[in-house]
C-alpha cells in the first residue's frame, strides 16, 4: 500500500474542509484533502446551493403563472401557462452544482492541495486508510482536521426509502409529487416545502412544536405563516409523525394531531426534515481517541482543537457553533492559520442565520428575549425599532413588500449599542452582510444613522429601522 505523508490532512471537502485546505495550501503547508463524494460537500452538492437553485426556479415558475391570466400582470401577459419539466430543472441545477464543484477542485489545485477521492478510515489519530476504486492509500499526517459534516436524521419508525425521502433526495426528484408531506417545520422543511408548493405540488407540514420555525420569535415568523396560509400550505402543529403505510394507490402517513388524536394523510412523497446529525460514526473517529458528546459531535475548544493533540474538528461535526456553512468556513480558515502559527480563536459577536423561505428571514445577533435579558442584567432598557418594507420604495418596485416584511433593530438604551437585527421579506437575505458588519464593529445606532444608504435600495429600510429605534424614522409616522 502506498503511504503518503503530509503536514495537514483534511477529511471532507465541504465548506469547512475545502476552505481549511485552501488556506493551509496558501500558508505553504503540505496539505491533503480526502473526499468520498464530490468536492463541495453538503453545501455545494446537496444542500444550500442546489436548494437555492430549485427555490429560484420555483419562484420564477410561480411568478410566470401570474402573467398567464387573461388580464396578465405588470402589463405582461403570457398566452398560455408556463409548463414545468422537473427533470430538466434538476439537470439545470446539476449544471450549477458541477460548475461549483469544478471551481472548488480548481481552487484546491491552485493552492497545491492534493485532493484524494475515497472514504477515509482512521486507524489511529494521525493515520488513515483511504479506499477508492484504485485501491488503498495510507496517509500519515501531523495535523488532522475533521470536517466530516453531517447527514439528515432518519426517523427510526419511518426509514428513508423511495417514498420517505431526505432533503438530499428532495433535490433529485424527477417527477413532481402530487402531495408532499413534510415532517419537521424547521428551515430545511419549509424552504423545500414552499418551493414544491410553488412548483405546483400540494404540501402539508407536520411539526411537533407549536409553530413552524420555532427558533424565531412570533413577530418574525408571522409573515411566513401568513404566506403559508395564503398559498394553501397546510400546517399541523403539535403533531407527531407515527409511521408510514402502503395503501392500494400509494402511501399514507399516520400522525397524532395537537389533541393527541390518530390521523392519517395520503401522500406521494414524505420529506423528513427533523434535523441533521454529525457524521462521526463511519470514519473510524472512535479509533482516534477523540472525545465526542452524546449526540456524536466532536468536542472542541474555542480554537476547534479536540482533546487529541493536533487533531482539530470544524463545522457540522464539531460541537462549536451552529451547523451552518459559514461557521464551518470560518473555523476552517482559522484552524489552518492556527496550525501555521497564528493566534486565532473562534469568537464571533454574531453568526448570521438566514432562512430562504418566502418571505426570507434573517437574524443576526441577539433575539428579543436574549437582548431583553442582557439589558436587564446591565440595568438598562432595550430599545426596539421596526421599519416595514411597505414603506420602502425599492421594495415596492420588486414586489418585495407583499409579504408584510420588515427590518427590526434591538439596541441598548444606555449607550445605543446595536445588539440584534432581524428582518423578514422577499430578497431580504442580501442585507445580512451589513447587519453582521454593524454587530461585529460594535456599531451604535448613531453609526448606522450617520451612514448614507443608497437610494433606491432595500438597505434604506435598515437605515430607517435604526432611525425608528432612535425615535425619528423619516418614512413612517
Amino acid at each position: 500500500m502506498e503511504t503518503k505523508r503530509c503536514k495537514v490532512l483534511v477529511i471532507g471537502a465541504g465548506p469547512g474542509g475545502y476552505v481549511a485546505a485552501i488556506r493551509s495550501g496558501q500558508l505553504g503547508m503540505d496539505t491533503i484533502i480526502v473526499e468520498g463524494e464530490k468536492a463541495g460537500g453538503t453545501c455545494l452538492i446537496r444542500g444550500c446551493i442546489p436548494s437555492k437553485a430549485i427555490i429560484h426556479a420555483a419562484h420564477k415558475f410561480h411568478s410566470l403563472s401570474k402573467h398567464s391570466t387573461k388580464e396578465g400582470h405588470m402589463g405582461i401577459t403570457l398566452p398560455s401557462p408556463a409548463e414545468l419539466n422537473l427533470a430538466n430543472l434538476i439537470s439545470w441545477k446539476e449544471e450549477i452544482v458541477n460548475k461549483l464543484n469544478k471551481g472548488v477542485e480548481g481552487l484546491l489545485k491552485a493552492a497545491k492541495v492534493k485532493l484524494i477521492s475515497g472514504w477515509a478510515k482512521f486507524i489511529d489519530a494521525k493515520t488513515c486508510i483511504v479506499t477508492n476504486s484504485e485501491g488503498e492509500v495510507r496517509i500519515e499526517a501531523e495535523h488532522v482536521i475533521l470536517a466530516n459534516g453531517s447527514i439528515p436524521i432518519e426517523l427510526p419508525f419511518m426509514p428513508f426509502d423511495e417514498n420517505v425521502i431526505s432533503s438530499r433526495d428532495a433535490l433529485e426528484l424527477n417527477d413532481l409529487p402530487k402531495h408532499l408531506v413534510v415532517v419537521g417545520g424547521g428551515y430545511i422543511g419549509l424552504e423545500l416545502g414552499i418551493a414544491y408548493r410553488l412548483l405546483g405540488a400540494e404540501v402539508t407540514i407536520i411539526e411537533a412544536m407549536d409553530s413552524v420555525l420555532p427558533i424565531f420569535d412570533k413577530e418574525l415568523r408571522r409573515p411566513v405563516e401568513l404566506y403559508l396560509k395564503k398559498n394553501k400550505i397546510t400546517v399541523h402543529t403539535k403533531s407527531r409523525a407515527k409511521g408510514v403505510e402502503k395503501t392500494s394507490n400509494g402511501i399514507k402517513i399516520n400522525y397524532t394531531d395537537s389533541k393527541g388524536a390518530q390521523k392519517s394523510l395520503d401522500a406521494d412523497k414524505i420529506l423528513v426534515t427533523v434535523g441533521r446529525k454529525p457524521r462521526s460514526k463511519d470514519s473510524g473517529i472512535e479509533k482516534m481517541g477523540v472525545k465526542m458528546n452524546e449526540q456524536g459531535f466532536v468536542i472542541v475548544d474555542n480554537k476547534c482543537a479536540t482533546n487529541m493533540r493536533n487533531v482539530w474538528a470544524i463545522g457540522d461535526v464539531a460541537d462549536s457553533g451552529e451547523m451552518l456553512a459559514h461557521v464551518a468556513s470560518t473555523q476552517g480558515e482559522m484552524v489552518a492559520e492556527i496550525i501555521a502559527g497564528e493566534i486565532r480563536e473562534y469568537d464571533p459577536v454574531s453568526v448570521p442565520a438566514i432562512v430562504f423561505t418566502e418571505p426570507e428571514i434573517v437574524s443576526v445577533g441577539m433575539s428579543p428575549d436574549e437582548a431583553n435579558k442582557y439589558c436587564t442584567e446591565l440595568e438598562t432598557k432595550l430599545l426596539t425599532g421596526k421599519f416595514p418594507l411597505a414603506a420602502n420604495g425599492r421594495a415596492l418596485t420588486m414586489e418585495a413588500e407583499k409579504s408584510g416584511g420588515f427590518v427590526r433593530v434591538l439596541a441598548r438604551e444606555d449607550n445605543h449599542q446595536i445588539l440584534g437585527i432581524q428582518a423578514v421579506g422577499s430578497s431580504i437575505s442580501e442585507l445580512s452582510g451589513e447587519f453582521s458588519l454593524a454587530l461585529e464593529m460594535g456599531a451604535l445606532l448613531e453609526d448606522v444613522a450617520g451612514t448614507i444608504h443608497a437610494h433606491p435600495t432595500m438597505t434604506e429600510s435598515f437605515h430607517e429601522a435604526i432611525l425608528a429605534t432612535l425615535g425619528h424614522a423619516i418614512h413612517i409616522s
Binding site: E142, E342, E345, E377, L378, Q417, G442, L444
Partner: protein, 412 residues
C-alpha cells in the same frame, strides 16, 4: 442682564485643580461665546477654556502660575444689557444650559488631549470591539475584558489597545511570536545519494573498523611548504599539505604494503598493490565523490598537486570520467580548515585503510622541558581489523609521522 459667574469646569476625570498658564482676556474685554479665555494646565494636559457666553469681562480670578480649583469662580462676566450689581440668581434652566456648555468644553478637552476617559464596563457586559481590534489584542496577548474602551458606547479602539500596552499592563507574550515547528521534509534517496548510502552500509557492515589517532609536528613541513610556494613558477599550483602527505604516503605505503591493498572478503584473498592510487574524498554539491590520483609513486610533488586539483575539480564540475573515479588503493579524506579533534572515517571498501587529515594549527608543545609554539596537525585513520592488525595500522601512521616531521626524508 446682570453678572454671570463662570466657574472652572470639570476638565477631565479625576482632575480637581489646574494651574493657570495664561489668560487670553483681561478685565474690560468684550468676548464672544467660544472665544478662548484661559489656558489651564492639569497633570494630564493643557486645556484652553472657551468663553461660555457673550459679554464683558468684569473680573478675573488668579494669575498665571496660580492654582484654580474645579468649581471655583474664575471669571465674572457682565451681560451686554446693563450693569446691575446684582448677581444673577441661577435658575434651574440656566443650570442646565451651563451644564451643557460645560459638556461642550469637556468634549473639546477630549479632542485636544486625545487622552479620552475610558469607560468602565459593567458586570456581565460584553466587550465591544471590532474584529480588527480583537485580532490585534489576541496577537499581543491582551485580554480585552481588562481594557477600557474610550470609543462611542465604550467601544475599544486601536488607540485604547496601544495605550494599554504602553501603560505596561500585564501583557502576555507580547512581541516576538515563537512557534513550535513540526514540519518534516521528505527527501527521496536516489542517484548518487543512494550509491553513497549503499557503499557506506557495505563498508560499515562488513569491515571491522578500528581507528587510530596521532599528532604530527608539521612546523618544518610548513617552512618548506611556504618556501616552495614563494618560489613557485608561473602556472604551478600552490601547495597545500595534501601533496606532501600524498608523497609521504608513497613512501610509507611502500614500506607497509599490507596497507595498500584490497581485501576481497568473498574470495578470501588480499590484493596488495604496487601502484599507489590515492582516492581523494571530495565534497561536491551532489554529495561525496572519491576521485583517484593514479600512480602517485610516479609523480613529483607538483605533478601530484596538479593531478589532485584536476580530479577534484572534475568531480565538482561533474566532468569526472569513470576512469577518474575508479581504481584507488588507499583513500585520503581531508577535513581541511574545518579541523576537528578527530574523526573515525569509514573505509572505502574494498580498501583496507583510510587516512583523515585535520588542519594544522599553532599549539604549545613541551620540547626539552620548555614550552614551544609548534604547528601541530592531527591525523585520524581507520583500518580493516580483519586484515590489518593494530600494530600494522599504527606503524604506517608512525612512519608517516616521521616523514612529515622531517620533510627532507620524503624526497630522499
Amino acid at each position: 442682564m446682570g453678572k454671570i459667574e463662570f466657574r472652572l469646569p470639570d476638565i477631565g476625570e479625576g482632575v480637581v485643580e489646574g494651574e493657570i498658564v495664561s489668560w487670553h482676556v483681561k478685565v474690560g474685554d468684550s468676548v464672544k461665546e467660544d472665544d478662548p479665555i484661559l489656558d489651564v494646565m492639569t497633570d494630564k494636559a493643557t486645556v484652553t477654556i472657551p468663553s461660555p457666553t457673550d459679554g464683558i469681562i468684569k473680573s478675573i480670578q488668579g494669575k498665571a502660575g496660580e492654582m484654580l480649583k474645579v468649581g471655583q469662580v474664575c471669571i465674572v462676566f457682565e451681560g451686554e444689557g446693563g450693569s446691575t450689581e446684582e448677581v444673577v440668581e441661577v435658575t434651574e434652566e440656566e443650570t442646565i444650559t451651563q451644564e451643557i456648555k460645560e459638556e461642550k468644553i469637556v468634549e473639546k478637552v477630549v479632542e485636544k488631549t486625545t487622552k479620552a476617559t475610558p469607560q468602565v464596563r459593567k458586570k456581565g457586559e460584553r466587550v465591544m470591539a471590532s474584529p480588527a481590534v480583537r485580532k490585534k489584542a489576541r496577537e499581543v496577548g491582551i485580554n480585552l475584558n481588562e481594557v477600557s474602551g474610550s470609543g462611542p458606547g465604550g467601544r475599544i479602539t486601536h488607540t485604547d489597545l496601544d495605550s494599554w500596552k504602553e501603560a505596561g499592563s500585564p501583557v502576555a507574550a507580547a512581541g516576538v511570536k515563537r512557534t513550535a515547528l513540526s514540519g518534516v521534509k521528505e527527501v527521496p534517496v536516489i542517484g548518487l545519494r543512494r550509491k553513497i548510502a549503499e557503499q557506506m552500509s557495505k563498508s560499515y557492515s562488513t569491515i571491522a573498523h578500528f581507528s587510530y589517532f596521532e599528532e604530527v609536528d608539521v612546523t618544518n613541513l610548513e617552512e618548506l611548504r611556504v618556501h616552495l610556494n614563494n618560489n613557485r613558477k608561473e602556472g604551478q599550483p600552490k601547495l597545500t599539505y595534501l601533496p606532501f602527505i600524498m608523497q609521504a604516503l608513497v613512501k610509507a605505503l611502500s614500506e607497509h604494503p599490507k596497507c595498500n591493498a584490497h581485501y576481497l572478503d568473498e574470495e578470501e584473498k588480499i590484493l596488495q598493490y604496487e601502484a599507489i592510487n590515492l582516492g581523494i574524498a571530495t565534497q561536491t554539491d551532489k554529495g561525496l565523490f572519491v576521485p583517484v590520483v593514479k600512480n602517485v609513486e610516479a609523480q613529483d610533488i607538483w605533478e601530484s598537486a596538479s593531478e589532485m586539483m584536476r580530479v577534484s575539480k572534475a568531480s565538482r564540475d561533474g566532468t569526472a570520467s569513470i576512469k577518474d573515479l575508479q581504481g584507488s588503493t588507499f583513500t585520503i579524506t581531508s577535513l581541511g580548515r574545518m579541523g576537528g579533534l578527530g574523526a573515525t572515517p569509514i573505509i572505502n571498501h574494498p580498501e583496507v585503510g583510510i587516512l583523515g587529515v585535520h588542519n594544522a594549527k599553532d599549539e604549545p608543545v613541551v620540547i626539552d622541558g620548555r614550552i614551544e609554539v609548534r604547528k601541530i596537525m592531527r591525523l585520524s585513520s581507520s583500518w580493516d581489523h580483519r586484515v590489518i592488525d593494530g600494530w600494522d595500522g599504527a606503524m604506517l601512521i608512525q612512519t608517516l609521522k616521521k616523514l612529515l616531521e622531517h620533510p627532507a626524508t620524503i624526497f630522499m
